[in-house]
């Protein structure tokens, strides 16, 4: 996720502007950890290992729950 590529991104739900909150950045300006914030929805889209998760929030939560269940199942 690079700062200069921000303007093309939009909130998947309301299509509003996103602002970048970078927690960790690589030397080349690549944002590795942080989030993208939609002020209109007050929703945060996480950036993990440089990949912003721009799935709709309900879907993201569903997938996270699924994963937690899978891990809890001892697999």
């Amino acid at each position: 996720m690079r700062r200069d590529l921000m303007e093309i991104l939009a909130c998947p739900v309301c299509k509003g502007e996103l602002t970048l909150d970078a927690r960790s950045e690589a030397a080349d300006g690549e944002v590795l950890e942080g989030s993208l914030h939609c002020a209109r929805c007050d929703e945060r889209y996480p950036i993990d290992d440089g990949i912003p998760n721009l799935l709709p929030p309900d879907l993201r939560r569903e997938m996270e729950a699924e994963e937690a269940r899978a891990r809890g199942g001892g697999s």
Partner: protein
């Protein structure tokens, strides 16, 4: 649109199938797939330069494409006894030129056409690939638009994004970016792209009219929609209509071609056209083109 009870089941079948494909491709490329949706630090960065291997596209190439007619989910109930169509080709058989494309991108290729071949891409253009998978179509598009252009791949399967990013490092594709997101809720601003491509993916969506509305929104006026996708040229056999696995295999979700084009027109597109050959089964791959006025 009303929520269909089976929608969630279909989505899970689709994600499950493509995640498995991505994991297999990552493993064959010597990359450990991430445990879940997010990646342990360092996982996306290959340990060192991987030797590029290229597929021999001769007879017997086993690609395991999603729309592979040899896949039991795809062929058995569609046309019992019918031989695979000569006009519908799957996976990498659609690409005449595969030099410079990593084996892992080709291995995960599940397309039913070559949309870049009909997209008339020009240097400097911005392109979005809906359902970018391992990234193979993005890499071809990147070659067409050149260093002054940009290609974005959108996919809802985290493992595919990881695979595509790995592949991008292998081809040194600096003008290609991948984003995790849904094609029904495209996370890009209005009027951002000159062209949208998609290869055998829209049939997997449970809300195709929404996909076309979103495609329309993110295209600039004059922007082109150029996709290859599976369609029925006859009535969809009732037995297939609601089976999640067959949906994930590009059969059950395919629309009749008239309905497919109708949904594109309803989104506001003009010059809507499809090119395809009739098959014995009635299921065929079509090249579809449309323009945002």
């Amino acid at each position: 649109m009303t929520q269909q009870p089976i929608e969630r089941e279909i989505r899970e079948a689709v994600v499950g199938r493509y995640a498995a494909r991505a994991r297999a491709a990552l493993e064959s490329a010597g990359v450990a797939p991430a445990a879940g949706a997010c990646c342990a630090p360092g996982d996306a960065v290959p340990a060192g330069p991987t030797k590029l291997e290229f597929f021999d596209l001769g007879a017997g190439t086993a690609l395991g494409a999603a729309c592979d007619p040899n896949d039991p989910d795809c062929a058995v109930d569609v046309a019992p006894g019918a031989s695979p169509s000569s006009s519908t080709r799957f996976g990498t058989l659609n690409y005449e030129q595969t030099e410079g494309v990593p084996a892992a991108a080709l291995a995960a290729s599940a397309g039913c056409g070559n949309p870049v071949a009909i997209a008339e891409l020009r240097p400097g253009e911005s392109v979005l690939d809906l359902g970018s998978g391992g990234g193979v179509d993005c890499f071809f598009a990147a070659h067409e638009v050149g260093a002054s252009g940009q290609v974005w791949g959108l996919d809802m399967t985290p493992e595919m994004i990881q695979l595509a990013r790995h592949n991008a490092t292998q081809v040194d594709a600096k003008n290609v970016r991948f984003r995790l997101g849904e094609i029904e809720d495209i996370p890009f601003a209005d009027a951002s792209f000159d062209a949208i491509i998609s290869n055998c993916v829209i049939n997997l969506s449970t809300d195709k009219p929404q996909v076309f509305r979103e495609a329309f929104r993110v295209l600039r006026p004059g922007g082109r929609l150029r996709v290859s996708d599976m369609v029925w040229t006859r009535e969809v056999p009732a037995a297939q209509a609601r089976d999640a696995e067959q949906w994930a295999g590009c059969i059950a979700g395919a629309l009749r071609v008239e309905d497919y084009l109708g949904a594109i027109r309803a989104a506001g597109f003009v010059d809507v056209d499809a090119r395809y050959e009739e098959t014995e089964s009635g299921l065929t791959s079509a090249y579809v083109s449309a323009t945002r006025p």
